[in-house]
């Protein structure tokens, strides 16, 4: 079999083999993290094959496809393949995994075997979700993602509240998943296929049997399951506690990617009209979520809680963007998924570093660290700026496109209002992130920061953080490199909707050359 066909399976199952190997290796010294690092790096290496051998493809088709019958009846296939979005999500997950292992190097001091085995299993399921083109296969990975994460939170949580947080996470994710399963089976009952490209085609040509009411309910079943996983305001009840408890490596992949990807691939793909129908609500929830997340983040004294609400705010941006169904909004939203992965990931990594040193996330006990930890503060400020959406850094491109798209969307009667509300997010996010920087790093030394001998970044931590810092800048300046493979999907979703023509057709001038008015008449 040619490598291009087997590469996706290789990517997904390398961590699985790794997990088995780790389970067999003894839990001695740094053997487990070292082995996990090798496995995750290998996986990352494999994911890099994808952009290197990428072929430009139209929407609805996939690269690196492999389709084998898995179970003949019911008609379930092992069908994997990636388009631009899932390719970059694979690369992103591939990148975050070794960083997560490095971040856990010392942070996880006991039961390493359990931790890294679960971590790799989590990785398998996440990668599996991104490559699956068969609903059933997808669902298997989707549900599988739940278990290792729940155990990770329940076992390696920070406080005594970890069981409760894990249970909450599990219930929040699991119950809507049951709805998803019902929806899936209903679809299968009508179409006798789980194949996503086929279903997308059927949906686009209105061939999915069922009454409008039934399709609407099925689309809701899908959307609710995904929206909880994102999470979309107000379904974020699990997020705060989950983020507080989960160890750094797990929290980096806890929210966002899976749910948003699923909305884009399945909700939009299989239920285009129903998604358009619910778009006004989702746009409103997105805009409200942005402001809500930012305001609550401002109130927090605990770094992790702050990060949790900040995450809610950032994910709401993406929700807003993709539900505008404009090329700008969807493109920006997809790009922002990647950006949030690295910006949010970096923020959690840095908070984890502080916790390793100071044993607290309480900002009231920290303070004045800038003087003693110059490298950490530099990284923290850069990361905060990336999260704030400073131009030239990654998040700006995504947020700008999302907001610009939200102004133009045809799917909300009050698009301008929601756009204005969402844009206040840029003020509020600056307010809470800079307050955080100030409280942790500036001013006089806090109670806790006085007690502990300051240790700046060591080599391992430098290695962990620098790739992200470089990506901030690279993704801020060279966004076209990433976005060109996202365009087909964005075009597909936006052209499906009726985008109004420009209100004022532009007079074409030679692009980007600034010609002064009446120039030359001196």
């Amino acid at each position: 079999m040619h490598l291009d066909q087997s590469i996706l399976s290789l990517i997904v199952f390398t961590p699985l083999v790794g997990a088995v190997v780790l389970a067999l290796l003894p839990d001695r010294g740094k053997l487990q993290p070292a082995a996990a690092l090798i496995v995750t790096l290998l996986t990352f290496l494999f994911t890099l094959h994808l952009p290197a051998h990428w072929h430009s493809i139209p929407a609805g088709t996939y690269n690196f496809e492999l389709d084998r019958v898995w179970i003949a009846s019911p008609n379930i296939h092992y069908h994997v393949g990636v388009d631009g979005l899932s390719m970059w999500l694979l690369v992103l997950s591939g990148l975050l995994a070794p960083l997560g292992v490095l971040a856990s190097w010392n942070a996880i001091a006991s039961r390493r075997k359990l931790f890294y085995t679960l971590f790799l299993l989590q990785q398998v399921s996440m990668l599996g979700v991104f490559v699956s083109l068969d609903l059933f296969l997808y669902y298997a990975f989707w549900e599988m993602a739940l278990v290792p994460m729940t155990i990770l939170i329940a076992t390696f949580g920070r406080t005594d509240n970890r069981r409760r947080a894990a249970l909450k996470y599990f219930l929040y994710a699991f119950i809507p998943s049951a709805l998803l399963l019902v929806g899936m089976l209903w679809i299968y009952n009508g179409t006798h296929t789980f194949d996503v490209p086929t279903l997308t085609y059927l949906a686009a040509t209105h061939q999915i049997p069922g009454s409008a009411q039934a399709l609407w309910l099925a689309s809701l079943a899908f959307l609710i399951a995904f929206a909880v996983k994102v999470p979309v305001f107000p379904l974020h009840g699990w997020l705060s506690e989950g983020i507080q408890e989960a160890p750094t490596a797990a929290v980096m992949v806890l929210a966002g990617k899976l749910g948003l990807y699923s909305i884009l691939r399945f909700s939009f793909g299989i239920f285009p009209e129903q998604s358009h129908r619910i778009a006004p609500l989702m746009i409103a929830l997105g805009a409200i979520g942005i402001v809500y997340g930012a305001l609550l983040a401002y109130l927090q004294n605990d770094l992790k809680k702050l990060a949790a609400y900040s995450t809610l705010g950032h994910l709401s941006f993406i929700t807003l963007g993709i539900f505008t169904f404009t090329a700008m909004g969807v493109d920006g939203g997809m790009y922002q998924i990647l950006n949030h992965g690295i910006s949010g990931g970096a923020l959690f990594l840095l908070m984890g570093l502080l916790y390793e040193r100071y044993g607290t996330y309480d900002m009231r006990a920290l303070g004045g660290l800038a003087k003693v930890l110059p490298w950490i503060v530099t990284m923290f400020v850069i990361t905060a700026l990336s999260n704030v959406g400073l131009p030239m850094l990654n998040s700006f491109v995504g947020e700008f496109l999302i907001l610009a798209g939200s102004m133009r969307t045809a799917f909300s009667a009050h698009a301008v209002l929601w756009c204005v509300i969402a844009t206040t997010g840029v003020i509020l996010s600056a307010a809470y992130l800079l307050s955080m920087i100030q409280r942790v790093f500036y001013g006089a030394l806090g109670t806790r920061s006085r007690e502990v001998q300051p240790i700046d970044l060591n080599l391992r931590e430098h290695v962990t953080l620098w790739p992200l810092m470089i990506l901030f800048l690279a993704m801020g300046i060279g966004s076209t490199y990433w976005m060109r493979s996202l365009h087909p999907l964005a075009t597909a979703y936006s052209s499906a909707a009726d985008v109004p023509p420009l209100k004022n057709p532009i007079v074409h001038v030679e692009a980007e050359t600034y010609v002064p008015v009446n120039g030359g008449q001196r």
Partner: protein, 677 residues
């Protein structure tokens, strides 16, 4: 000059930032300063080359476009720079003044901890500021716009161990973000209406449709104005600038006087095509400008901190520039922008020199009589004070007078024009008053400082500014730093150059009425042609040169009155004014800056915070969001309490249930099968 060299102008300071930012900690101080200066000097030379190229070839524009920055289907933004005459002036101001201030900083900051950090930030600022002025589209302009805000944040918070500095930095960034909010919305509207962010595309589209008046263009213009007001510290967003004085003085000179804060003016001028179509927006610009000018001037009159006086003066002068923009006298506004850059940078640097001489003392009540002690600083500052007061033939007179004259002659709305002119004139008098007040209190009269204990009141600051151990072999003039001392020449040289510029800088814009030929305005004609030609044609007919002369005489008179009042109260009879008005309500109102900060805090910040704490956190988050979780958990538990009885743990009971289940399924299947038959 090859247009591709334009890239070098901003990129070089960025390289300086990267080098100093990553390696600076390990480099010697001269090396750090050398790198920073080198990477500022080369762009300055490049700008000079650019000037000579464009003047010699007569080219009106030069532009360069790189690959795409953001592309989505149906919309794209490139990295593109464009230079026209407006940009040339801005470039000259930014690189020239910027370079001088870099030199000054090398001396001023010599003893500071974090020397490398300071220069890295300064270079970063240069990078963003140059991107801002070179940008050929709104988005790249916004990059510079946000970037200078960032640099400003970092530099204001340079002494981050001081809470006040950290707060000021945060305040500056957040208030700027409010402005950016408007700017962003303006860009979204532009995208929605024009589908492009390129200046060329947008302005051409506007010019091609003379029918577009007001309407969405007003909305765009007003939103842009929000952005400009944030950046240029206009009402109601001026509050961050006075606090920004927490930063080192060179920063105040460069960022908060000469360059960054004028970005709003530059932006309004750059987008004048849009503003021209909206008389309403223009009037708002003018009103805000005039209001800010007089508002800040009144506060400036009663401040005691030398840098704060200058800060309010900056806000006030920026108000003048907005006033100029608002009456469509863009070239006058840019003219004032340039002269203001010279004399305000000079004033700040001189103030820095004074502060340096007094080892960190900023309170004017503890100064006085410094004329003899620091003569170079005294003379250069004098030039600056006269320039800002608007007394000919120094630079400030010409530019300010031009704005006032054009306001008076404002064609579109003569009543408003006259009113704003009166306000502007009053402000001119106030400006003259508070600047001479500053001058007298600092340099004249008796010495009110305690030379033996200089700097002790600022021990905290000093711990940061002057780290223990002067064993680094600095130049000798710093050794006697406990007495009043003149600054080293590395600081005085920029002062002298700027003083010279403050004196002669206005001569390039002498209006025809005064026998000049107004080179400056003609130089900018290609940029503002559409507006100024029309206006000029009308003005030339309606307002004669004699009228212009009369107005100039009036404004000089007002400035002189301001001077004499200050002379009476601060030189001849010091203390009398304070004795009479010190306890009046009006004085308290002004001295407390009209309680604007407190009002904002009480009406916006606190309600938001308290509202979110009670309503969002207390109710929505913990009752609705988490509550729904509890409710569903309770329901689950209810069902569970029933079903758990079946989980007896007895294998045989499980088997029993299994059998029942199987039987039920079998029966159901059979029933349906038989039913079908």
């Amino acid at each position: 000059m090859n247009p591709n060299y334009l890239w070098l102008i901003p990129v070089l300071p960025f390289a300086g930032f990267l080098i100093n930012g990553t390696l600076g900690r390990k480099l010697a101080r001269p090396a750090v300063a050398g790198i920073a200066l080198l990477f500022t000097a080369i762009p300055a030379l490049l700008v000079a080359w650019l000037w000579s190229t464009m003047l010699s070839t007569g080219a009106l524009t030069m532009s360069v476009t790189s690959r795409s920055w953001i592309t989505v289907p149906g919309f794209h933004v490139n990295f593109a720079f464009a230079v026209d005459h407006l940009t040339l002036i801005m470039l000259a101001v930014v690189t020239g003044v910027g370079f001088l201030i870099h030199i000054y900083s090398a001396g001023y900051m010599a003893h500071e901890e974090g020397y490398w950090r300071f220069f890295a930030y300064l270079n970063l600022f240069m990078f963003f500021m140059l991107v801002l002025v070179l940008a050929a589209n709104f988005l790249l302009l916004f990059v510079g716009w946000e970037g200078v805000g960032l640099a400003s944040y970092l530099l204001i918070g340079f002494y981050f161990t001081k809470d006040s500095a950290a707060n000021a930095g945060k305040k500056a960034f957040v208030v700027n973000r409010i402005g950016d909010f408007g700017f962003l919305l303006a860009m979204f509207l532009i995208i929605a209406h024009f589908g492009s962010l390129s200046f060329g595309d947008v302005f051409a589209a506007v010019n091609a449709h003379p029918a577009w008046q007001g309407g969405f263009l007003t909305a765009i213009a007003l939103l842009l104005l929000v952005g400009a007001a944030g950046k240029s510290a206009q009402l109601p967003l001026y509050v961050w600038l006075p606090d920004a004085m927490e930063g080192p003085t060179p920063v105040s000179a460069l960022i908060h006087a000469a360059t960054m804060v004028t970005a709003g003016v530059y932006m309004v001028c750059r987008t004048h095509v849009i503003f021209d179509r909206s008389p309403l927006a223009l009037s708002v610009v003018a009103i805000i400008g005039a209001a800010t000018a007089i508002f800040a001037a009144t506060i400036g009159m009663v401040q005691h901190d030398i840098k704060r006086v200058l800060a309010y003066s900056t806000v006030s002068q920026l108000g003048y520039m907005f006033l100029g923009c608002g009456v469509a006298a863009y070239s006058a506004a840019v003219f004032h922008l340039m002269t203001h850059a010279f004399f305000k940078a000079l004033l700040f640097l001189a103030a820095g020199s004074v502060i340096h001489a007094l080892s960190g003392e900023q309170d004017m009540r503890l100064m006085g009589g410094l004329k003899k002690r620091i003569p170079v600083t005294y003379w250069t500052m004098t030039a600056g004070v006269i320039a800002i007061a608007g007394i000919p033939p120094l630079a400030g007179f010409f530019s300010k007078d031009e704005i006032l004259y054009r306001t008076f002659a404002f064609e579109a709305n003569p009543m408003l024009g006259k009113l704003l002119w009166a306000v502007g004139l009053l402000t001119a008098g106030l400006t003259s008053f508070y600047m001479f007040r500053l001058w007298y209190k600092t340099f004249a009269g008796e010495e009110r400082f305690d030379e033996a204990h200089l700097g002790q009141a600022h021990a905290v600051v000093h711990a940061d500014e002057h780290p223990a151990g002067h064993d680094e072999g600095q130049d000798t003039s710093h050794q006697g730093h406990h007495g009043v001392h003149e600054s080293p020449w590395i600081m005085l040289a920029p002062l002298c150059i700027l003083a010279l510029l403050s004196i002669i800088g206005g001569w390039i814009g002498i209006p025809q009425a005064l026998g000049g030929s107004n080179h400056f305005e003609h130089f900018l004609d290609p940029v503002f042609a559409a507006t100024t030609h029309a206006e000029n044609a009308v003005n030339a007919d309606q307002v004669s040169h004699s009228m212009e002369l009369v107005l100039a005489a009036v404004s000089v008179l007002v400035a002189l009155i301001g001077w004499f009042v200050a002379r009476i109260f601060y030189l001849k009879k010091p203390g009398t004014l304070g004795a009479r008005f010190g306890n009046s309500a009006l004085y308290k109102l002004v001295a407390n800056k009209y309680w604007v900060d407190e009002a904002y805090d009480a009406t916006i910040v606190q309600p938001t915070v308290i509202g979110s704490r009670i309503l969002l956190w207390g109710f929505v988050e913990n009752v609705l969001v988490n509550g729904s979780g509890f409710v569903s958990a309770a329901i689950t538990r209810l069902f569970a309490s029933v079903t758990r009885k079946m989980q007896s743990g007895n294998i045989r009971s499980y088997a029993g249930w299994l059998a029942v289940g199987a039987a039920i399924i079998l029966i159901a299947m059979t029933a349906s099968a038989l039913h079908i038959h």
